[in-house]
């Protein structure tokens, strides 16, 4: 894990850039996660003092939203859709396969820090379920075989 001192200037810059924006907390959290990959717990104090909120309030917001994370992710984040349309096309088998080949469960990161695995509830790609995303790319009609070849590709990248 990185030392917060090396990240703090980034956090302060993001806070500064949002100073006049109404309802700025979510955009700030997105800004931090986009840049650092996660929201360092040590950043909460800076966010709170900048927005004149208590640290508990800021922490409450971060923990309410599934998308925000407070630990660094692996190099690539794999999200598997668990919602109904994907289930109708056997996403359960895909989930089991993914957990097995990665050797991790949801919300975990592989030991070599290459992949993090997260569940997601619908990607709007239900017309070709089952669907996954790897980082910002969506893939449809994902079979276990296709999953393996995608992993191989991202592992190399």
């Amino acid at each position: 894990m990185q030392n917060y001192q090396t990240q703090q200037s980034t956090v302060l810059e993001i806070l500064d850039a949002h100073r006049t924006m109404p309802g700025s907390l979510l955009p700030i959290l997105h800004g931090i996660q986009d840049t650092l990959g996660y929201i360092p717990p040590a950043a909460v104090a800076d966010i709170a003092s900048s927005l004149n909120l208590s640290q508990a309030e800021v922490h409450g917001v971060i923990s309410f939203y599934h998308y925000f994370r407070d630990t660094p992710p692996g190099k690539h984040t794999v999200r598997i859709c668990r919602a109904e349309s994907c289930q109708s096309m056997n996403s359960k088998a895909l989930e089991n396969h993914a957990k097995q080949v990665l050797g991790i469960d949801y919300h975990e990161t592989t030991a070599d820090q290459t992949f993090s695995l997260e569940p997601v509830y619908c990607l709007g790609n239900c017309a070709c379920s089952p669907s996954i995303t790897i980082d910002d790319q969506v893939f449809g009609r994902v079979t276990p075989d296709k999953f393996d070849s995608l992993l191989a590709k991202f592992k190399g990248a």
Partner: protein
């Protein structure tokens, strides 16, 4: 210069559209052929994506589904001249799936370059705004009321009435908020509009702003839609540059500003008051109503909260008039609904039709039956809070009241098809589990009831005190129905009870009720 059209829609991309576009760029360059590749939205015939259309003197000719390894052979066969090939489809608009739709809201999607203002203007774009600028605010609202448009986001509340409330509310600042959280499984029409014709949403929101005197709009977009965000921001930038957003819109003296805000993966933030909390930078807890958001909304100010499709339907209403729109549909369900066919279906896609078609027509005449070739057993309509409908209900017309009469909902128009391998007790359990995961936590029936619901279903399936636990499950559903503040807890019983009533055998129960 020959123009090729290859979609930038997420679903087309998920099937390899980017690689196909790259292959065309590469191969045509190698051959010294000059082509322009337009990255359009999707026509919505997803089993044919990636679809490639080529502009010929005889009109557009389509090929699909195309993979990158097909590109060389397609060019050899004379794709640029619209010549035959095994993937040749002809004019996509002549296929029954496309031809028999009523494309009002989706008129341009899949046809134009989504972020080209020139394309938008050349295809009837901004005609609605032009008319609106010549009308009094109350007259704009009257067109929307006359059209019979009801909210497409789920609750089906008349849009004109909502607008009228905001118009008459006093406040120096008012807001237009577009609900682009589209979290329901089986729905993607909001995404397709935002990726395929973002200007129509921008125009609809601008008209809403002018109608009620709101000068600021926000699009609350779910974070799962990165491509929609890119397209929206490109279109917003073009609209600002050309005087369609900002101060003094088209010299009218009217002002409207617009910004996209990202959600963060919470289903409940699609509920309108929870969405407003989230926009304000808080946890997405549902607010008590009243006061309505129309009176006390974003930052305490009068606010219109409308779904993407509701707002994107406004430009055509203002272009052609409320009466024109109202002439489509049946009963109190007027206009068109963009239906979304998903799950285990042979021909998944977007089908915009006037209200009144039956589910069966849609599933079999257009959807082509299941993808697996097995019998269709159940269809969940209207997202995770919608009922599972058995075959005996497939003749129900797509109409808000007809669905309500059988304890189902049309919701956002998404259909998720399941074949006979799906176990409905599993789906009922999942519905409860989803509620556990996504409840905002404010009320007990939803927060705790859903956890108990999972356990009770597990006991029924494991054959522990079956009769007693089935009764308990029904009681629990009753408590959730009556004791929840919003439809998250209040409608989770829909999928659960419909599964229990129509598919008791999956719970190891004997069919008792019809």
């Amino acid at each position: 210069m020959t123009r090729l059209f290859i979609s930038r829609d997420s679903t087309a991309l998920s099937l390899g559209a980017e690689q196909v576009a790259d292959a065309f760029t590469q191969h045509t360059a190698d051959r010294g052929q000059s082509v322009e590749i337009v990255r359009n939205g999707s026509r919505g015939l997803f089993w044919l994506e990636p679809l490639v259309e080529v502009e010929t003197p005889q009109g557009r000719v389509a090929y699909g589904p195309v993979q990158e390894e097909d590109v060389a052979a397609l060019l050899d066969a004379g794709l640029l001249e619209g010549k035959p090939h095994p993937l040749y489809l002809g004019n996509i608009e002549e296929l029954p799936y496309f031809k028999n739709q009523n494309r009002l809201t989706f008129a341009r999607v899949g046809i134009t370059d989504p972020v080209s203002l020139g394309d938008y203007l050349a295809n009837d774009g901004y005609k609605g705004l032009k008319n609106a600028l010549a009308l009094q605010p109350a007259e704009i609202v009257k067109h929307v009321t006359d059209s019979g448009l009801r909210g497409r986001g789920g609750a089906a509340f008349p849009t004109g009435i909502k607008w009228n409330t905001v118009l008459n509310a006093s406040g120096e600042q008012k807001y237009i908020v577009c609900n682009a959280d589209e979290g329901d499984s089986g729905t993607f029409s909001d995404r397709m509009i935002m990726e395929g014709d973002p200007f129509v949403l921008i125009e609809g929101m601008t008209i809403a702003g002018i109608a009620v005197g709101a000068t600021q709009g926000y699009i609350y977009l779910r974070v799962e839609y990165p491509h929609a965000k890119i397209a929206l921001n490109q279109a917003i930038e073009a609209a600002y540059k050309n005087g369609y957003l900002g101060e003094n819109i088209q010299g009218s003296g009217k002002t409207f500003h617009l910004e996209v805000r990202s959600g963060a993966g919470a289903y409940v933030c699609g509920e309108e008051t929870s969405l407003l909390e989230s926009l304000e930078g808080k946890r997405g807890l549902v607010r008590f109503k009243p006061p309505l958001p129309a009176i006390v909304g974003l930052f305490g100010k009068p606010t219109i909260v409308n779904n993407v499709i509701s707002l994107a339907s406004v430009p055509i209403i203002l272009d052609k008039g409320g009466e024109f729109y109202k002439n489509y549909g049946m009963g109190r369900s007027r206009g068109t609904l963009p239906l979304q066919l998903a799950g285990n279906i042979k021909h998944p896609g977007l089908f915009e039709a006037a209200f009144g078609m039956t589910l069966r027509e849609l599933l079999y005449d257009y959807g082509g039956g299941s993808a697996s070739g097995r019998p269709i057993r159940a269809v969940q309509v209207g997202g995770p809070l919608g009922a599972y409908m058995p075959e005996s209900q497939f003749d129900t017309p797509l109409d808000y009241e007809a669905f309500a009469a059988i304890g189902a909902v049309l919701g956002h128009g998404g259909l998720v098809v399941h074949d006979d391998t799906t176990n409905l007790a599993d789906m009922a359990r999942y519905a409860m589990e989803f509620c556990v995961e996504e409840s905002c936590g404010k009320c007990t029936p939803c927060r705790i009831g859903s956890t108990r619901g999972v356990e009770v279903i597990d006991r029924i399936v494991a054959d522990v005190d079956k009769a007693k636990n089935t009764e308990l499950l029904r009681d629990l559903c009753d408590t959730m129905l009556c004791g929840s503040l919003c439809a998250m807890g209040g409608m989770t019983p829909y999928p659960v009870l419909s599964a229990l009533n129509h598919f008791p055998e999956d719970f190891g129960l004997h069919p008792t009720k019809a």
